[in-house]
Homo-oligomer: 669 residues x 2
Amino acid sequence: MANSVWGTPAHRANIESLGLSKRRALPLLGADGISSVAYAPDEIVLMLSFAGTAGLVFSPWVAFGISLTLLIVVGTYRYNISQISERGDYMLVHNRLGPVPAMIQGASSMVDYLLTVAVSIASGTTYIISVFPQLQPYNRGIALGLLLLITIFCLRGLRSMGRIAPIPTYSFLVLLGLTITAGIIQHALGTLHSATSSHYQVIPQGHVQNLVTGVGLAMLLSRAFSSGAVAITGISTVNNSMRFFASPKKHNAARTLMYLGLISAVLMVGITYLVKKTGAVVVQDPQRFLLVDGQKVGADFHQIPLLFQITDAVFRGGWMTELVSLATVGILMIAAVTAFIGFPLLTSTIAEHQYLPVQLSARYSRRLFSNAVIMLSVSAAVLLLIFGTDVNALIQLYIVGAFTSMSLTQCAVAWHRFRTLRITLDQMERRKLFRDLAVTVLGLMVTVAALIVVLFTKLTQGAWITLILIAATVGLMLMTRKHYETVDEDLKLGSDDDSLARARVLPARVHALIYVPRVRKPVALAVAYARASRPSSIEAIAVNVVEERTKAMTTKWEQLAVPVPLTILDSPYRDQVKPVREYVRRRAETSPGDVTVVYLPEYVVSHWWESLIHRRTVHRIAHQLRRENGVVIASVPWNIGRSHPVEKPQASPSSLAQELSQQPDERRK
Amino acid sequence: MANSVWGTPAHRANIESLGLSKRRALPLLGADGISSVAYAPDEIVLMLSFAGTAGLVFSPWVAFGISLTLLIVVGTYRYNISQISERGDYMLVHNRLGPVPAMIQGASSMVDYLLTVAVSIASGTTYIISVFPQLQPYNRGIALGLLLLITIFCLRGLRSMGRIAPIPTYSFLVLLGLTITAGIIQHALGTLHSATSSHYQVIPQGHVQNLVTGVGLAMLLSRAFSSGAVAITGISTVNNSMRFFASPKKHNAARTLMYLGLISAVLMVGITYLVKKTGAVVVQDPQRFLLVDGQKVGADFHQIPLLFQITDAVFRGGWMTELVSLATVGILMIAAVTAFIGFPLLTSTIAEHQYLPVQLSARYSRRLFSNAVIMLSVSAAVLLLIFGTDVNALIQLYIVGAFTSMSLTQCAVAWHRFRTLRITLDQMERRKLFRDLAVTVLGLMVTVAALIVVLFTKLTQGAWITLILIAATVGLMLMTRKHYETVDEDLKLGSDDDSLARARVLPARVHALIYVPRVRKPVALAVAYARASRPSSIEAIAVNVVEERTKAMTTKWEQLAVPVPLTILDSPYRDQVKPVREYVRRRAETSPGDVTVVYLPEYVVSHWWESLIHRRTVHRIAHQLRRENGVVIASVPWNIGRSHPVEKPQASPSSLAQELSQQPDERRK
């Protein structure tokens, strides 16, 4: 409780910016994009293997196409970056296109973050199992364990992230660079080994004869493209996290974006090239479509990711393979962490527009980060429980959200440039704007085209789940906003309002009611406090549940000579709450201009678990009374085991007669 | 919420007594005892089969021994019944032997009820599966489904129980009577068929050679006896539920007890006799110790309960078998329901002695039945999840608790009679007392002997779990009582106490603080109510979280000319709760004799789910302030979407100057 997300309670200034230099921003915020080479090539090969081994020849070309798309998107995003506010794409779309597209953008991005976490963890688990095959039966456990570790890390020690992230990311880049270079040299020298899986037989699925026609081939390549396009999804992380960059933020973000694009493109092409040359293969459903030594594989067959396979082929099963895998797991975990950084910022921005619960808004809750982190973590856990560590199944859900969000961003920039162009007269300005617009429109066309391909090929594969998720999120956002608007309207206090003058009118009389559960010290305290406020009338009430107890109570009340009349409320059904509520309501109805203050004596135990074995009658009464009008619910706490003012009077005890004859104003200043 | 357990809210008079006549009491309260013939014979045969088929010859003799024990216990219990209070055995032991034995008695009885539910449901599931073998894979699901049905029934419609219970119970008795009679006649005529399992081969376990020695045989018979003794456990249900009987309660209870004993004894002997004659068999671990046609059975082999097997043999596979099974399931469910009736009464009695949480005490909570029913249901669900529908495993836990509780009851009666005897001088009286004492001591000896046999043979089989459960329950009871005593001591208001006089002293001054989250209508209402109580000082406080919002707030406060000064508390860490608590504490420390009333304006939404998306700051402040001394926490509720007194003034608005110049007393009567 005492510590915020960033370790110690975050001072306001610290949350806004980590001030990452380019050198530190790339490994942290670029991890999402770069790490996708750990699974994107597999997705391409997986899809191409539908056509059997024959399909695999296209893999470097598909990778090339994806890299080209990536570079175009990155190129156009760099032009857009001047338009993007520090608060991310959602804000841009909100300001340029209005609330509904913004909600769609926001919901898509939320789903995108969620799937970044799920996919990164599932893929990381696959690499761990490739290194330690004996862990195969525990894959869900490993995935959930990783998620838990990341969640705890994000809740407690995120601050050190800028210093930790470079280690796995740069290790990954160096090791993978080494692997690819060594592989290409080996291939040139003719010494490149084949991958273990190169002698597996892939059984073509379904209508492989369609492959000869152009439509079949186009379909196959589209599916491979849209699966591999997962490599492009990482770039929006950079945009949405611009506030973390050191100044000049936009310049640094644009540079980081460029590096990210180039690195990802080179790695994609390099890996798929080596995959082709080593003959490594993965298929979607190995039990059905894979023959090893002419035999179908069993249910416990674990497919080795391609990156692991080519490293293994290049370094011939040495410890380098394990090292590359470890670095891969490392960068995938960093990718998951970036989602945990980006998500709270996004939800906080959306919550400020009242589309998400106020608990997620940075303005209102210092626990915003914890709330959002826990929300993201629980959602990811649900996904992992449903889909297990099946990266392929999760990828089907992933890409739609990412491309929807990117298309909307491009659209917002294009629309703004188009409108600015219409009102700009200066020729130089117009020319520059026109060039920018042309670039943006190119980017928009590419992302929309990619989105259409993805929707077309993925809709029935699982993307419908994503669309429903996005639609449901938008629906909830609209309902949330509507509710807040209703409440705001009802509570608004206009300075020109009638109600304002009325608010200054005091209630005619104040009636005090003291609820008496048992005649004990807290009641004495409540009586003292109630009398001290000098109400117009004062009365104690008790509920008759067990006859003899009630009698004992009234006897004691008289014995103690409490200077307040005690009224017994009857309760034939042993209910202690309803009679009190009804009595208060009747009182309020008979004198509607007055206010009734109900004093509830309450003892407070030292530990929360002690409170489990005490009755909550007083709380239930308080809760019920909240629904009444003209009522103030005054809790008088008595802390068990602590001294109280009632036991340490400042004045000496005066006689009852004296007290009662005192004028109310005598004790006042 | 509106309905109590008994359907509609229970009037006090209804809970105490269902007023069951003997004819209705036997089927309801006797179901626990009678239904045990559905599994007790199986337990005897199971244990004897350790020695292979050879062991089975003893089964009617073990059954006879158990029946004899049962009759002795019932006979002595009838003599005890004049001693047993209407509130059950726990109360008897408490009054005669003191609190610690009573706690052990109570904890044993609680565990006993729990296992009645678990065993009855597990056994019922076995019968359902015997009728519908295809349901075998869903046995846990069926058991949990039955539990859920019974729980819902007990929460809602228990009232109709007196009318429903006779149907399955009397059907069961009639059908079983028919079966046994028909079976004996068939055997006499030599036409009795063999059971399906009679040609199964039973592999003897372990040291069967020991059987020739007397020790081995005694061991085997003891184990069979202690397993079959589960048939005796049902009788305490009658004792503990005496308040449900029609008057004369004790007479009716004694009669019911006698019928129960006779019926159970006859059925036990009859069933085991037919089991022997039909050659039916069950073993503990069929995969290891059962050969069918010379082959070991598979993991999905379902053992048919003996009652089902003999009905099948007698009626040669006709629909009668299904009918008897259905009636068996019915009576087992009634047995589970009786535990759900007895358990809340027991926990309520214990809770009145403050050994269990006050929420279980009838005096304090009209939801006592729901609380106890849910507690029992959840515990039974846990047992069923751990042990599945393995009746045998559950039986191991069952018997220890029952015999511990019975032994303590007998001991309490014997001790009381012994003490009475010592102070009785009248010879006639002494002779009667001596006879009663002798009977009780006989009963005590039998139950203690049975308990020792059970402990000796069952301890390592699972009874240790029960002992730990009982010990843990007693430990929790002691801790609970200790806590309540501490609290009571701290809160006690003695009439001769110093603190009494002090309690009559009023605090010197009343300070009002109004917490201002935003300047809206609820705050206006809180200000009006605070001012109406005419405190010595009045002040509004707000926490500065976002600079510009705070500025807007102060501007609005001035604009509205609220006649109360507004203090802004700084909060560098965005925490809205701590600054308020600290401010209140500082105020209280500077004037320890005064009371500070903190007004918390609070808006109340119409539905609970709407409150999920609102901040709980006000609740958190209230919760924190409860730990401070000299503080009253005054919630001022504002119901969203309802009209409020602040908007419907009784008096016409008066000017601010007028108001401030008013004398406090002018508005009073």
